[in-house]
Structures are given as structure tokens and as C-alpha cells.
Amino acid sequence: TDIEDPPGFVDKTEFLLKEWITIYHTQSRDLIKSFSLFVSKMNLYGILKGDEPLIRFFRHATQYCIDLTYRSLNDPNANQTIAKTKIFQWIDAYVRLIALLVKHSGESGHSATKLNLLNKVLGIVVGLLLQDQEVHGTAFQQLAYHRIFIMLFLELSAPDAVLENISLSIITAFCHTFHILRPSIAPGFCYSWLELISHRVFIGRILAMIPQQKGWSMYSQLLINLFKYLAPFLRNAELAKPVQHLYKGTLRVLLVLLHDFPEFLCDYHFGFCDVIPPNCIQMRNLILSAYPRNMRLPDPFTPNLKVDMLNEITTAPKIFTNYAAAIQPANFKKELDSYLKLRAPVTFLSDLRGNLQISNEPGSRYNIHLMNALVLYVGTQAIQHIRSKNLAPNMTTIVHSAHMDIFQNLAVDLDNEGRYLFLNAIANQLRYPNSHTHYFSCAILYLFVEANSEAIQEQITRVLLERLIVNRPHPWGLLITFIELIKNPAYKFWDHDFVHCAPEIEKLFESVAKSCM
């Protein structure tokens, strides 16, 4: 940007841009013919002579649109609706030019030129947005950028043979752009960002139309960007209005995903729950409640439901997050693997807490990501271990193993905060009928029945109950685990003081029990 513009370049750009806007609005019927005439004029002006003038043209043209937007929106006499219409008439025309240039650039079979151009334009808009946010601060206006992104995406998503060929690359370019503009980087753009990534055409493309679900991992990354941004604001008990609004919008998007793409939430649940604060119980429940559409869930309230007779519990759920890689540092992973293999040295168990604790600051003592990854990794290893002995996981086969050593050690050795996070990591696996749900359900019940202190039992109850008293939805695995806990006399659930510690708590248990029994 520090290279001086050639003399008159900005005027040329402005002239061409205005010319195109006029063409767009007056010759809509045979726009393509006018477009080719216009391109030859661009060529005449030297704009298409190479990358550098073209980039310069786009930067000045985009800047022109943005300046127009600020002028119009900040004009106290202008009617806002009319101002926006005028801005959109301008921007939409400019975006159509970009789309036509992308579509017609390079040889029709070669997509590289087209995608290069698209990425250049997106890069310019991103650069201008971030600069603008820096300059204007809280006076930043997102409107122009919002309009450019959505209209460009709609233009490039129109049914068209050339564009269809490069649709995956187009969506990748936009995902990349939205990732760069994620709310923690561009907080002034956060509402537009959520509007863009949840636009029905964008969702339709990335989650439904791209074959072999190739868009899913990119979309999961965008959701993780959103959760990470929200997390610090959701830790507070009281949500400020702007946070509440963004949170509510996020719930709406998750509901659409739960309804239309439950498998997507199933496959990426671990990564999502890993960045959602533990106190966001309903939002986390919403993700954990997803189950594959072709699956019929047995009614969890069925008396004498024989969970271990369900054939789904032999199937491991897909998990597209590489949680094993999250177990750091490497030597800790090595020690873990050797302990799981050899069930020695015992010192591994006593060092466990030291690996998990990162500070003494209450509320942020532990490395939650490591805790979540460790729990899931140990659990999946346990299932494999039991299977290797031609057994199926149940309340007897899960005991007396290196895996259960680790869980029992965590239950005993961690303080209240650590234990709460540990139990949450287990409860995050109580989902739809699958081998993880079944194993972790057994594991948490086993920890309850074998607990050597009531505090462990109390916290197990707390973690399960707080997930049940929140508004729906509730994950299937959570329900069946809690029902088993309060119905099976082996757990002597009703004998514990914490069940009767206050009238409200007692009332809660009775109402849950009534609905279960």
C-alpha cells in the first residue's frame, strides 16, 4: 500500500466505477454484452495490464464504496432506508462486476486464475475492514462490508456451469475470509459475521450441497471461532445485552443445525464442547442432544430399559477432532500410553494432577482442553482394551484396569474445581446410543458407587442434575444415566445428605424422579 498510485489512477478508477454503475442500472437486459465492452475499456485504461493495477483498482473501488457508505449513513438529513438502498444499488453493481470478472477471467477450464482473483478481492476487503475498524473504533460501520460479502457470495453461488466447477474453492475462499475476520479479530463485525456464516444460502452450500461433507470441517472451525469469542463474556452470571443478543443468535443457528444437520453436531461435538464454558449448560446440551437422523432413540423413561441390549452401543461415534493430539506435552502422552499399557509406574497417577493444574487462580486452575482430551482418550482406550479381551463394556468389565485407575485417581485427587471439570468431561460423552455413551455412563456410575467420599457422589449428582434442570433439549445418555442412578437401589442415592440439603433441591429431585419413575 505504500507504493504511490500512478498519477490519475484514482480518478480513472472512480470514472470507470461510475461508468459501470450506470451500465448496470440501465442495461440490465444485455449486461453480458455491456460487460465485455466495459472490460475492453478497462483494458484500454491499463487496469488489466497485470496484477498490480488490478489490485489497485479493486482497492480504490472498494474504498470508494466504503466512503460512500460512511457519507450516506452519517448524513443527518438522509432517510436511513433510502440511504441504504442507494448504497446497495452502488455496492451490488460493483459486486456484480467483481463476480463477472472472476467468472470470465482466465481460460474457462482453468480455475486458478479465477480463484486467484477472488482471493485477491476478498483479501482487499478484509484488509480495508480491519484498517477501518482500527481507524473508526466504536464508530465502525459494518454495512458496506456485510453487503459486499453477502452479495459476492450470492453472485458466485448462482446456478452456473463455470461457477459450479469451482464451488468448493469458492466456499473455501469465503471460509478462509470469515476465519480471518472472526469476531475475536473483528469484534465490530461480529453480528454481521454471524449473519453471514448462518445465511441460508451459505449454510445450504457448505453443509448440504458440497459433496462428501467436504465443507463440514471448515464450518466447524467457524463455529469454534464463535464459541471462543463468546466464552469470556458467557462466564459472567449476568449477560450484557449485546452478549445476550449474540448468544441468542448463536442458539438459533445451533437449533437450525440440530434440526437439519444433526450428524454435523454429532461429528464435531468434542471440538465445540471443548471451547464452550462449563456454565453454558443449555447450549452444550443442545449440541450433545444431536443424534443421527436414521437412528430411533428408545424412550429413556421405558421401565427396565436394557441399555446394554441395544445394538447401537457397540458402534463408536465418529469424532472428527484430533483429541489425542491435544494431550500435551509429548512426554506426558508417552507416560500416559505406557501406564495404560503396563499399569505402571504408580507415580504416574500421583503426578496426574500436576500435569493438569496450570495455576492457583480459582476458576481457572486447570487446563480444560487437556482434561477433556485426556478423559476421552482414556475412555476410548478402555473400550478397545475391553474389546481386545472379547468382552463388552459394562459395570463389571470396566473395573480394575489402568483406565479406571486414572479416572478414580482424578476423582479422588483433584479439588472441587478439578473434579467438577473432570466429571463434566465425562458427562460430555453421554449422548445418543453409542459405545462412548455406554462406557462413560458405566464409568460415572461406577465412580459414584465406589466413591470413598460423599463429596465425589455429591459432585457427580451436581453435574448430572444441572444438565437436567435446564430447559430442553436433554441428551439421551444423560437421561438414562440419571434414571439408573436414582432408580437402582445399588447406589443408595436417596440416602445421601446432599439430596435433602434444601427444600428446593429436594423438590427438584422429586419432580425429576416422578417424571422418571
Binding site: G137, T138, F140, P183, P187, Y191, F233
Partner: protein
Amino acid sequence: PLQKEHQIQFQMMEAAYYHMPTPTESERLRTYLHRQPVPTPPHYPQQ
């Protein structure tokens, strides 16, 4: 309490809250095509 970085992010979010995008801003403009445009009295609806 929020870290410094998050406080700044919150201020930006809060400012953005007052320029909330509306669903129509994500939809194409509808071009209203006159059949026979004529000047109408200013006190008639103009929009």
C-alpha cells in the same frame, strides 16, 4: 473480570450492537419497476 483484550472486544461488540444488520441487508434489492412513472403530489406516499 474480563481481561483487557476482552474488554476492548466487548466495547466493539457493544458499538456494533447499535448498527445491527437486518435480514433485508442480506437479500437482493427488489427493483421496483414503474409502469408509467409520473410526478405525484408530494403528500402522496413516496416509498
